[in-house]
């Protein structure tokens, strides 16, 4: 559904504003939605995503916590079990590693371990990905780790518009959701964002651009690069939006039409989500394929510091080459 079809008041917003508005909307709607994290209250978050929310909803619902990632997520697990809807902010994805045990050993499996008696409806928001020339461990793209673990959903918006609809759905979801916000997109693009609430379903991707010769799957900030690189190709571009569970049907219907697939992501190629998508397509649509599935992704290297960011992250030329290889096969 486009914003025009909705026929409601809308205004141009960047992703920071869209997420902020969504958090306020959800907190207004449900008093059990609470925010916690480092610097999220008084300071409004280091990216200002939670700006003004503590003033509006009080320190009991927008909690500045001590510097303790494990504790933030562990406390969120406890609150979620108790019936609250915590939205935790981890300041940068590189700092989420301290909380991995809480996510993998508790949040993801509480429903299963208690056979449904306790559930864990929590959202962990964290800025991720490369492109803001930040210090070390401020630019990680570790989405595949979370996709691998049963019981967790992983969502990545690519625009202010879908950030709002996806985050609202994530907060209302009854299971844990890792919500990865491409920090490069926070203020880089604007889209019309309706004031009214709307939900975009988790588990559904969107056709960003229709085409006939080649399917491109990407998400987050990489979507925009993959689209730019597609200039000159008759490419169908899928914005995955939810990485786990990803929209199998949308990918299948597209590759059955085009017979070619390139998956582009920032994270390391090895065991990245591209590997899973490639395996899925080869299992489910091998007979339709005119060329091997290609991945164009990060090198098998530690996410570099600012100077080498652009060498690690597939640039337009590398992406274009992947398209050409598939087209020429």
């Amino acid at each position: 559904m486009t914003t025009k079809q909705m026929g409601v008041f809308q205004r141009p917003a960047n992703m920071v504003g869209a997420i902020n508005a969504t958090l306020a909307q959800e907190m207004d709607r449900d008093k059990d939605v609470v925010i916690l994290g480092e610097d999220v209250g008084r300071d409004g978050g280091v990216f200002r995503v939670t700006e003004g929310l503590q003033k509006r909803f009080g320190p009991g619902r927008v909690m500045d916590t001590p510097l303790a990632e494990l504790g933030i997520v562990g406390a969120s697990v406890g609150m979620a079990i108790y019936g609250l809807r915590p939205v935790a902010e981890i300041q940068f994805m590189g700092f989420i590693y301290a909380a991995i045990e809480q996510i993998f050993s508790h949040a993801s499996r509480m429903r299963s371990r208690s056979r449904g008696r306790f559930t864990c409806p929590l959202v962990i928001r964290t800025p991720y990905g490369i492109g803001i020339k930040a210090p070390e461990l401020h630019s990680e793209s570790a989405e595949a780790l979370f996709c691998h673990m049963p019981g967790i959903k992983v969502v990545v918006p690519s625009s202010p518009y879908n950030a709002k609809g996806l985050l609202a759905s994530a907060i209302r979801d009854d299971d844990p959701v890792i919500f990865l916000e491409p920090s490069r997109l926070y203020r880089a693009i604007k889209s019309d964002v309706p004031d009214e609430e709307y939900l975009l379903p988790l588990g559904k991707g969107e056709v960003y651009q229709e085409g006939k010769d080649l399917t491109i799957v990407a998400w987050g900030a990489m979507l925009h690069k993959a689209a730019e690189a597609a200039d000159g190709f008759d490419a169908e571009i899928i914005d995955l939006q939810t990485l786990k569970p990803f929209d199998e049907e949308l990918i299948l219907s597209s590759v059955k039409k085009t017979g070619r697939l390139v998956v582009a992501h920032e994270a390391t190629t090895l065991c990245g989500l591209g590997a899973e998508i490639a395996a899925f397509v080869s299992e489910a649509a091998f007979g339709y394929m005119k060329a091997p599935v290609m991945r164009v992704a990060g090198y098998e290297a530690v996410t570099p510091m600012a100077r080498l960011e652009d060498d690690f992250n597939p640039g337009i030329e590398r992406i274009k080459r992947a398209y050409e290889l598939v087209m020429e096969y």
């Binding site: 059990d32 609470v34 009991g60 619902r61 909690m63 916590t65 001590p66 303790a68 494990l70 504790g71 997520v73 562990g74 406390a75 969120s76 697990v77 406890g78 609150m79 979620a80 079990i81 108790y82 019936g83 609250l84 915590p86 045990e101 809480q102 050993s105 508790h106 499996r109 509480m110 429903r111 299963s112 371990r113 208690s114 056979r115 449904g116 008696r117 306790f118 559930t119 049963p150 019981g151 959903k153 009854d174 299971d175 588990g203 569970p245 199998e248 049907e249």
Partner: protein, 353 residues
Amino acid sequence: MPISVIGKMEVKRLQVINEQGQADASLISLLPDSIYNKFFETITLARLYNQRALSLQREGRLGTYASILGQEASQIGSALAFDPSDWIIPSFRESGVLIAMGYPMRLLYRYWMGDERGMSCPEGLNILPMCVPVGSQLTHSVGVGMGIKHKGEKKAVAVYFGDGASSRGDFHEGLNLAGVFKLPVVFLCQNNQWAISVPRSAQSAGATIAERAFSYGFEGIQVDGNDVAAVYKATKDAVDKAKAGGGPTLIECFTYRLDDHTTSDDATRYRSRDEVEAWKAREPLIRLKLFMEKKGLWSKAYEDEVIKKASDAVDAAIKEAEAMSPPDAADMIRFTNKELTLRQKRELEELEG
């Protein structure tokens, strides 16, 4: 004055009934007379449950099991200070706590038989599944405490963990957060002196675990963990304080694990028989019986009757546990998410043939 003293710490230890069964007159008067039979009967029940679990394991009818022998006073004395509406967050060695809270023994056996349904807490109780990664449950008490505070309820949270867990970062983050937000949490450290083969002295250079509460801005106390009255008294005080908005408390129950770490362990590899024998002489039932006998609350006939009743309950629980239908393999997929993914639906179909 270049150096001045800006803080002084006091570490308290509580004992109500000593090893000879003599009670402190002023402290004992604070406890209701009716409680001792409850102590005795629950400890007896938990001990029989435990004994049978160990024999079932040897017979191959139950998997790896973590014995609670020797720790019954710490577990039952603390658990009885909570109401069923309070929240209990256990580690994996808390069978006594769960039994005292009224958790069905058939489910406990079923859990140790390797069946997740054993961890599905019945309605009316708020007991989280036993936590296996040591200490990782501590911060959950913070969240539950935040939930209680958010909803404006008068409830308390108990979180149980051992001396080993006190070395983990989770301990620090859990206690620190609970202190900062003044949450209704009772941190119940079951210091049983051994984390598998590592003695308490090798976990920390600090003299007690209780004293660490000082650095988080709330009270900590060490109790004689084999004195059920002391454990109950300290916990009840902490629960009352928590419900009155007074914030968290750390209670270090100083006790001893008389059995191996689990049925897969051999404790003779790392500790002396003399040490174990010395602690056996201090096990919690000895002094409780002496004390109750003096008060006219215990007799051999009474004990026989309690054992008979407990034994029947344990027998019935084992029978029920073993009579439970085998778990449905589809449940492992079904309970992963509220709504299954397409892949899970395919896998479910494959599984169900």
